[in-house]
Amino acid sequence: ASDPGGQINFFSMVDNLEGDSGRGYYLELLIGTPPQKMNILVDTGSSNFAVAGALNPDITTFFDSKLSTSYEPLNTQVTVRYTQGSWTGLLGKDVISMPKGVNGTFLINIASIFQSENFFLPNINWQGILGLAYSTLAKPSSSVEPFFDSLVQQENIPNIFSMQMCGAGQPSPGIGINAGSLVLGGIEPSLYQGDIWYTPITEEWYYQVEVLKFEVGGQNLNLDCTVYNSDKAIVDSGTTLLRLPDKVFNAMVDAIVQTSLIQNFNAEFWAGLQLACWDKTQDPWNYFPDISIYLRDTNSSRSFRLTLKPQLYIQSVLTFQESLNCFRFGISQSASALVIGATVMEGFYVIFDRAEKRVGFAVSSCAEVSGITVSEIAGPFGTSDVSSNCIARNPLREPIMWIISYSLMSLCGMILLVLVILLLLPNRHRRDDMETVNDESSLVQHRWK
């Protein structure tokens, strides 16, 4: 393994995840004293560590803080809202350990969920969430130290983790055994093939990256590259599909329809409302094009290309159809962001190198379907055909900017009020003057009449 200090055994973390893209990939953790075993969803798109603190119809177990002698309540209520679903819990601290992770016990912030909506889903086998993004996203404030920050701080491991998700080509919902690996503190060479290509993290909140270009069947989608990054492009293990901004999604579907050799495709398939099923003797994957995503390289004048074969985005789904194989479209539209979710991540070993502020991609050792490798990485490519900056900054993203904006708006309002008052005052004087009748004014008034 590639830990230079040799203090961590990365090999013990291989195959420490279970699950699938539809219901998420989860890690087993032991929480509290005596330890309570929980399965925790790995989410690189949020920053809170939370576990069910009460029973819920969709889960079978929960963390009972009253049974833990090491639990320290912080008496703070916290609510986290996701793209879909939310939960409310109480903040506290407790010790955790990882049966297949970094050795030792660590004191970390935990939210005990007592109320949730659309967060726990039917048939999931996890009871909590491990947010691995930056503290900027932590709720109720960035002062709540995220799980991985605490781990790096207390165990002095390198500030890097990597993830392999092994559901490519597996029917969903899968059997969820030995479905992937979360390597905390480094990179495990047995989990990838070829070179690792790195793209900069453009801002440390989500794992935000810069997408430069899309190709479908080798043809450039030819949209302005700022559209690909509106309002952000992120790498998120807690999102099942590849989510594309509306404009990109429509262009992508048009390009796939034109390139695919399949006749009369049902429009509802693209919207995710229907599955497409073919006779078991037919293999639809041969009839769809490859999709490529170009990311900016750490050398900003270069880029590299992630290629997804149809096996990654035309996803097999288990149904009760005896003679048919059914598939769903692994790409959906998004009003708010481009999300490189499990659809893409299942093709690659993804390295979240926080120390060097970059995300790495390499072809995953488990991205194989029927002996075919379903992902590719190629580069370097030039960037002369795209803008030098494809990210349109949103100045109101930072809380401080909101405060400044409100202050300026209040100031403008006060100035406007003063101006209105000043405008009204002379008018009143003028009216008073008009009402004062003397010979001269009366004469003038009559003349005007």
Binding site: L41, L261, L275
Partner: protein, 38 residues
């Protein structure tokens, strides 16, 4: 031997025939179909 000679008769890559339209089927769990959105 027949297969080998057939390979020589068709040295070019032949593009696949158009595939028949798919049978649309509603997902078993429509609500859960898109998966996670965290």
């Amino acid at each position: 031997a027949a297969c080998a000679s057939a390979n020589f008769i068709f040295p070019l890559k032949v593009s696949p025939a158009e595939m028949k339209g798919a049978v649309p089927v509603a997902p078993v769990t429509p609500k859960g179909a898109p998966g996670l959105l965290l």
